[in-house]
């Protein structure tokens, strides 16, 4: 039996076609993100881990190393679990508050809860110390009030302050993710339960919470991963008595230069993150409920009963206290003169001053690394803009594919979260061994900063876009197409209006992640292009009242830039828009 040439060719062409449609098409949306993650995440990570964990190096690990690893792993789990529970404890009622009630100053209060997410730890630590430190306002006030000799509250340097700071940082994740799901909930389900005689707690337990489970889980996993990889909070507020995996990785890799142990710890951290992500995507797949999404406005009302008013007042005051008090000390401190001609006299003159701000604009010592504040803001905004563009461009196709998951999507889904759980210290060293020579001599390039920011922003962007893209009913598209709309027109008239809001909130996330990220210790930095967080750290690295004041002034500038950014974007969004 012979096949003619013609036949073979047709067969081959069909084969190629089958290959293209069955293999290439599902792979296509993943191309950009896979190449990006492969090149800038997995490859450098593999290089540095291999350097530490090759068979020869592994021999240097002894029993003490494994004891240290298990000890830090236990503590990391313990504090992350406690922090996540506390964050949920505050975040869930807060999410109800924002999703269900309409009240004055709502958008301001919500913006306030978001600001911590993008503040560098040095600034947050300064805020907490000004409030709760041994010479903080709370302690000084109580010493004054009750005539005490020493500070009654010691929280800085304890597990308590670590948990508090984690709640402070991550509550916004719960508020946004769960609040968004809550505001889109079909109200007829709860109403039906109530008509059937269920009292409010029963409605909450039997209807509302089960419907919210995917979003609560999503928020918990994100919060947990953030707490699990916590670094700055542990070092600066917890103090040397506490050590998470990431802190131990830093000590081993950067100070002791024990790469095998650092590699082992990084691998443990990475595998844990992967396990959480797999667990998460499984649970979400099993429990996700599809219901007709509603515009957010339908669920909003003002507080009417006494109980509702009590809840509204209590919750708003609690949030205001928790988020405003540590933050407000920074702008206050940036305007107060505490330093004066003290010398031997022990006199401290207090007074208001704008010196710290005016000093930001001059370079009295002709320093080559002086950067005007405006330029630092521009650098930060430039990096943030690049991060937004890059992460949206890479994340959009992936989110589109994930909206209708097939086997490939289910397989790759958990890996998207990995950059959040990878050790920043290890990845930074990975960059140095990978991108230090042409063709990709990126280590010394300022472009490395937005690339690194995109790695962290990408998981958020995808997680924000995916639900919105999945929610678009197919029949709307079919209707438009049958009415004669061309595919691009269908996309612009049907998909885009629905996706636009989600795109905006994805952009907010990428923007905030980039603005607050402080990876200076793990990356090689070009000092000509400092971001705001780096400029703050520079002022804090030398003694003197002026330096401290200028750091606080710069931190205030960062907060104001962040706050304006968030408020602007919230304005852009139409009422009833989704978030995250």
């Amino acid at each position: 039996m012979f096949l003619s040439n013609e036949d073979t060719r047709t067969k081959r062409i069909t084969k190629v076609r089958v290959f293209v449609s069955s293999w290439l098409r599902p792979v296509l949306p993943w191309m950009g993100a896979s190449i990006f993650l492969g090149l800038f995440f997995f490859y450098p990570l593999a290089r540095i881990l291999w350097l530490g964990l090759n068979p020869a190096a592994l021999k240097t690990l002894d029993l003490a190393s494994f004891l240290l690893a298990s000890h830090s792993l236990l503590f990391t789990f313990y504090q992350a679990a406690l922090s996540t529970l506390l964050t949920l404890g505050l975040g869930l009622p807060a999410a109800f508050l924002f999703a269900r009630y309409d009240f004055h100053g709502k958008s301001l209060l919500r913006a306030l809860t978001t600001i911590p997410f993008m503040l560098p730890t040095v600034v947050v630590a300064a805020g907490f110390n000004a409030l709760l430190g041994p010479r903080g306002w709370v302690n000084l006030g109580m010493m004054d009030l009750f005539h005490l000799q020493s500070a009654p509250i010691t929280i800085v340097g304890t597990l308590g302050v670590i948990l508090l700071a984690h709640v402070f940082y991550n509550t916004t994740i719960v508020i946004r993710l769960v609040g968004n799901a809550l505001s889109h909930l079909d109200p007829s389900l709860e109403q039906a339960a109530r008509t059937l005689g269920a009292d409010p707690p029963r409605v909450l337990n039997r209807v509302t919470l089960p419907l919210l489970r995917p979003s609560i889980l999503a928020a918990s996993v994100l919060v947990f991963i953030f707490d699990f990889t916590s670094f700055g909070v542990i070092l600066l507020l917890g103090g040397p008595g506490f050590s998470t995996l990431e802190v131990e990785i830093y000590k081993q890799a950067m100070q002791i230069f024990n790469l095998p142990l650092a590699g082992l710890l990084s691998l443990i951290q990475l595998l844990c993150t992967l396990a959480f992500s797999i667990l998460y995507s499984r649970i979400v797949r099993r429990t996700s409920v599809t219901s007709a999404p509603r515009a957010a406005g339908t669920n909003l009302h003002t507080a009417r009963t006494f109980r509702q008013k009590l809840f509204l007042r209590g919750m708003s005051w609690l949030l205001l206290a928790l988020f405003l008090l540590p933050l407000i000390s920074l702008p206050l401190r940036s305007l107060t003169r505490l330093e004066a001609d003290r010398g031997e006299r022990g006199q401290v003159h207090n007074g208001l001053t704008t010196d710290y701000y005016t000093e930001l604009f001059v370079n009295p010592r002709d320093s080559i690394f002086y950067v005007p504040p405006f330029k630092a803001i521009c650098n930060s905004l430039g990096y943030a803009a690049l991060t937004v563009v890059l992460s949206l461009a890479l994340g959009f196709p992936v989110a589109l594919a994930l909206a209708h998951p097939r086997r490939l999507e289910r397989l790759l889904d958990p890996f998207l979260m990995l950059p959040l759980g990878a050790s920043a210290v290890t990845l930074g060293l990975g960059f140095i061994v990978t991108f230090n020579r042409p063709p990709l001599a990126l280590v010394t390039s300022p472009l490395l900063v937005p690339l690194a920011h995109t790695l962290i922003a990408l998981p958020f962007v995808i997680r924000s876009l995916q639900p919105a893209l999945a929610s678009i009913p197919v029949r709307l598209r079919q209707a438009a197409a049958s009415l004669g709309a061309s595919p691009p027109r269908v996309w612009f008239t049907v998909d885009w209006p629905i996706v636009r809001r989600a795109t905006l909130s994805a952009a907010v996330f990428a923007f905030t992640v980039s603005l607050g990220e402080f990876g200076a210790s793990s990356l090689v930095v070009r000092p000509e292009y400092p971001t705001l967080p780096i400029a703050i750290a520079r002022f804090l690295s030398q003694p003197g009242g002026m330096n401290y004041g200028q750091a606080m002034a710069m931190a205030t500038v960062l907060m104001v830039v962040c706050g304006i950014g968030i408020l602007l974007i919230e304005r852009l969004r139409l009422p009833g828009a989704g978030e995250f």
Binding site: L235, Q255, L338, P543
Partner: protein
């Protein structure tokens, strides 16, 4: 929306590329984060040698060195500044430096020339000392501690804050001073007593000085802090109003200070060897050495360099600083830190 994003992208790209260095040859200098210099001084070097100098900041002293070692196959820079005597042996063993017998070494006292093979050349030194809050001791009518032994006396209970030697170079310096003074067998007993006397330990200099120390802007609870002997001068220079006297000073007893020396070296494999040598000469020259104190708050090693007025008035060099041989430090540092951690933190 898309067009808007495109414009943003192009603008940022243009902004970033407009700032990138253009010049005849670029000499790259890798440093730790504390490096600083006057613009005029660097420009003078650039003009004299028709070169553009680019700096890379790479973390604190330990981090910067580890990065230089990890990238030694394809060095990121031509010159590396910032290794101190506590890390010197690690740098020399890793073989990252090219030896260079700068003629300016003749101007530097022998005590700083710690590498006889001239791969690492000293640039500056400083003393890691206990600083005290003058106002606190005056207000409480308390005599100052004069020795390390004094610090474990009951009158100084809860008054001292130190940095964790595992994460901070002043912290490591102070630990090494106690090792030098009490010996490798005795320093842990001393730290046990310090712990009983309520020594506070924090992660790094920033927290210790700005938050815990009562003499700084943070007005913290402890009037004694491990910092530098040049910090009082910095307090005057960076004061919010003109000061006639420094609010702090250093305790300069026997072995209460640890002498830190910082080095520069040419990275092996540089294509700009001649220029790199010129830059090293420049860092040892009078011009740079006189500029450095007010930029980095370290002391010049070049004997010809004159000290700025603020240093003469408010800062002091320790008369009897503790010193340890770099090879001894390298051999035992990790063990000392681990043992210290077990005794003081756990």
């Amino acid at each position: 929306m898309k067009r808007f994003l495109l414009i943003v992208f192009l603008l940022t790209a243009a902004l970033l590329s407009a700032c990138s260095p253009k010049g005849p040859v670029t000499l790259t200098v890798m440093t730790h984060d504390s490096f600083a210099a006057s613009e005029s001084v660097i420009t003078a070097f650039e003009q004299a040698n028709n070169v553009k100098v680019v700096f890379l900041k790479s973390g604190d002293a330990g981090e910067a060195l580890n990065k230089a070692i990890l990238s030694k196959e394809a060095p990121l820079a031509d010159v590396f500044y910032g290794v101190d005597n506590t890390f010197l042996s690690r740098a020399l063993e890793a073989g990252i430096y090219e030896a260079y017998a700068s003629p300016l070494l003749a101007k530097i006292p022998a005590e700083f020339l710690l590498d006889p093979q001239k791969r690492a050349l000293p640039v500056d030194y400083g003393d890691i000392c206990i600083n005290y809050d003058k106002a606190y001791f005056a207000a409480h009518n308390l005599t100052l501690p004069a020795t390390l032994e004094d610090l474990i006396k009951p009158e100084y209970k809860n008054l001292l804050v130190v940095e964790n030697p595992a994460t901070s170079s002043p912290g490591l310096g102070f630990l090494l001073a106690t090792v030098k003074h009490f010996g490798p067998d005795g320093y842990l007993d001393y730290w046990r007593s310090l712990r009983l006397n309520g020594v506070a330990v924090v992660d790094g200099w920033g927290t210790a000085y700005s938050t815990n120390f009562s003499g700084s802007s943070g007005h913290g609870p402890q009037p004694l802090v491990v910092s530098y002997s040049s910090s009082p001068a910095a307090e005057v220079i960076f004061a919010t109003s003109r000061l006639t006297d420094a609010p702090t000073a250093s305790i300069l007893g026997p072995d209460t200070c640890f002498r830190q020396v910082e080095f520069v070296g040419i990275l092996k494999g540089t294509p700009h060897l001649k220029l790199a040598q010129k830059f090293v000469d420049f860092m040892l020259s009078q011009q740079f050495q006189e500029d450095m104190p007010l930029q980095m708050f370290m002391y010049p090693v070049n004997q010809d360099a004159n000290l700025p007025q603020e240093f003469i008035q408010y800062a002091q060099v320790a008369p009897q600083p503790a010193t340890l041989d770099p090879t001894v430090i390298a051999a035992s540092r990790d063990k000392w830190i681990a043992d210290w951690t077990a005794v003081v933190l756990h």
